[in-house]
Amino acid sequence: MALFAPDPAKRTPSSQESLLVDYLFRLENFKKGRRALQVNLSKLEPQNKREQHIRAAASSFEPMVKRGDGQLFTLTNSDLIFVFKSEADDDVQAVVTRLRFMFADDSLLLDDIPGVREQFCFWYEIARDYEQLLERAKSLADAEEMKRKQSENVGSQFASPQQRQGGIPLTPELLGRIEDALSQADLSNLVRRQSVCAIVGRAAPQQVSTELFVSIADLRATLIPNANFTSSPWLFQHLTETLDRRVLSLLSKNDDRSLTQDFSVNLNVATLLSPEFLKFDDNVRSASRGTIVIELQKTDIFYDLSAFMFARDFVHERGYRICIDGLNHQALRFVDRAKLGADLIKLVWSADLPEILANDVEREKLTHLILERSPGRMIMCRCDTVEAIQLGQSLGLTLFQGRFVDQRLYDITQQGLRAKRLGRR
């Protein structure tokens, strides 16, 4: 009996193989009622396992992935591994039948006898075969990583200085691959929550709202580490739109009761004008809409102001509020919340802010600006130290978000729980 020490830090989660390993780790306490299917596309004849064949085969699982029945991994050797809940067994069988038909003329299938001589696919009962599958996944991941390191070493000799500095630039090809990966990935692992709290003086933080977001950093780490998004800002914006749709469908399907109200979500203007948003809107209780905030990026807003204004008026009519996300103290000067008709603004904390505001003129400017823009509608975000809170409060702000805020909230909740337990005895 081996003791598995899940240590994601050891492995740079960049491949489907390592994603599979991490997924299996998470399943350790949920083995019952799950199965896995391995489709041995790698064993097909060369002309039958080109990229379009793999993609076609993988897309057969898409409806189930979207429904949350399972997660698909397309390994580097082209094998597919689909881990799913047993309830979906019939659907998976149907897909396998379809795939068998798709590759019917390949010699692998001619040699295959379902139930007797399985060549094309292999079934795992997670409860029974967990360790075997995990071992297999780990060795595949190790092999893949070694191969990748080798090619990286070769590649980096030829990388331009810009590339070596800034990492891999986002190209259309890379974007295409990321989008394919996204359509198959179970994003619920990547959706993070962060609390927005009112912190007045030294009083305990009062939770006001929860922001749901897909951590771009995590996404980058899982899909393409070292990716440089800044040299291709427009491709990056396109990617966020793709993400939006996935997040919306996640939210529409969600059965997490804590997510029915008092939350905010990052979306693009284009997404607000899409049928997906209308579907999401249908699923939201009308009473909850007033507590849901839609966060928009300034780049996106100014991309097409007419579309923004239309979308803004529409979501306002439905009862939602709009927040302009991610403004630093310079951007605040140019983005007028009231003129844009937005309800809230997020001001970004950065470690160099105290130094900048040590200058009286700068401090005066910012204080004045905050007053003009209504401090009650401003949230200071990315507060990862107590300094952020102190500075924010000195500027007249009361709403905060960030790692420090989450930590404080957690500490206080723990204190409260302990007090309760003590009280009970």
Partner: protein, 444 residues
């Protein structure tokens, strides 16, 4: 006898037809029946996108449950609500919401009592025949619309097709796709003279050259990425142009990310002592990275060049004050409804912003008729760009050109708009194709 399949008895099931049939049936007793037609088809084209119409229709959702009314979404995009004993107030509430959604469209600029352009009520108890005639007419129009063949279904730009397009573009010489357009300044009210020339890539020509079936539509972000990748190619193409092609002052549309590349620095060196440069930047590029904008502006100013903020509309001027960016020039986009919008009391803030930018820093672009120039001159704007000016300059050139007898104005204008290729070579008097004459208007 065989029927002509294109015309004989062609009946389409359209909402117009359903409406007319319904109205026909209630003709026996039309008392207490009301109808209202909301003329969404009269909105500006930019307000009639699929997304906006979908959302507009959603505003009628609250009526759907009221079984007293039926909603017809006509193929013209108009909406007709029909019902017996309907509560007018309910419908008016929805129309109010629509009015708010489309509050920047001139169709909603009416005063109380003058709403008939936007919507129209019909009391069928009194005006049944009139309304039935209208319905019949709409059926005919709908059938005509359906009989017209739909445009070809075009492939949208995807990351993969973009990658393919980029590879194709890398292999092409950009020269033939570089176009130019003059910006004309009016130092006096009746004399226009060349201020500078904008050089740009004709994306429609390029699109045709690359692929027969992928169009550069779909995600605008992907399209913008394509344009960004073309920046450095354009610099190259400009450097290779013969001296005669280039005016003393040129402008180029560039992404901020391109302005910090070694290639651009080299281009600035090349410009030294040769030409003056105006770099045109997009608003969203600026908002994406303010620091990059200011850095770029300073780089340009240090070398004696200028920066221009492109694409300002009456809408954008309400949201942000371009004078905050300290640009040398600001380009406005002319649209036919601009005078109405600016002269309306609600346009006060816009007029104020134009003043704070400074009328002498404004360029009015997309001037495709005389009104755009006359109105702007009256307001104190003195720089213009657009098809109308292109034609004027071509006309003046032709009047001076002894070999222009066999040319049309359209040909001359077209030849002057490109910098290489067969079209340009067709000009019988090559030195004149680059001639930039002063133009005189009859006004003072």
């Amino acid at each position: 006898m065989a029927l002509d399949p294109t015309t004989a008895g062609r009946e389409y099931v359209t909402q117009e037809k359903l409406l007319r049939d319904t109205v026909e049936r209630l003709g026996k007793d039309p008392v207490d029946w009301l109808a209202v037609q909301v003329h969404l088809s009269r909105l500006l084209p930019s307000n009639r996108t699929e997304a906006k119409m979908r959302i507009a229709l959603r505003m009628f959702d609250q009526l759907a449950s009221a079984f007293r009314s039926q909603i017809f979404v006509l193929s013209s995009q108009d909406i007709v609500v029909l019902g017996k004993d309907m509560r007018q107030a309910d419908i008016e509430e929805v129309i109010d919401k629509l009015r708010t959604l489309f509050k920047l469209d001139p169709l909603t600029f009416y005063d109380y009592g003058n709403e008939s352009q936007f919507y129209q009520w019909y009391d069928l108890g009194y005006g049944y025949n009139d309304f039935f005639d209208i319905c019949t007419q709409m059926v005919r129009l709908a059938d005509e619309r359906k009989a017209r063949p739909a445009g070809p279904v075009l492939d949208q730009l995807t990351p993969r097709s973009l990658a393919t397009a980029l590879k194709a573009v890398a292999a092409i010489d950009m020269g033939p796709y570089v176009h130019r357009q003059s910006i004309v300044g009016f130092p006096e009210k009746n004399r226009g003279t060349l201020a500078f020339q904008e050089f740009f890539v004709s994306m429609s020509d390029l699109e045709r050259a690359i692929s027969a079936d992928t169009r550069f539509v779909g995600s605008r972000w992907l399209f913008d990425h394509l344009c960004q990748m073309l920046d450095l190619r354009v610099l190259d193409a400009v450097k290779r142009l013969p001296q005669a092609c280039l005016s003393k002052m040129i402008s180029l549309n560039l992404n901020l990310t391109s302005l910090t590349t070694p290639a651009f620095a080299a281009f600035l060196d090349w410009c030294q002592g040769r030409i003056g440069l105006v770099v045109e930047v997009q608003t969203m590029d600026i908002f994406n990275d303010f620091a990059a904008y200011f850095k770029a502006r300073d780089i340009l100013h240090a070398r004696g060049h200028r920066i221009l903020i492109d694409g300002q509309t009456h809408l954008s001027l309400r949201m942000v004050d371009p004078s905050l960016f300290g640009a040398d020039l600001v380009k406005l986009v002319w649209t036919p409804e601009l005078p109405a919008i600016i002269e309306d009391p609600s346009g006060d803030s816009v007029r104020h912003i134009l003043d704070s930018i400074g009328m002498d820093r404004l360029v009015m672009s997309r001037c495709d008729n005389e009104k755009s120039i006359v109105w702007s001159l009256e307001r104190g704007i003195s720089m213009f760009q657009g098809r109308f000016l292109d034609s004027m300059m071509a006309a003046v050139t032709m009047s001076k050109c002894e070999k222009s007898g066999g040319c049309t104005l359209a040909q001359c204008t077209q030849r002057r708009g490109v910098v290489s290729g067969r079209t340009r070579a067709e000009c019988p008097n090559p030195p004149m194709v680059d001639h930039q004459p002063d133009i005189r208007t009859g006004r003072s």
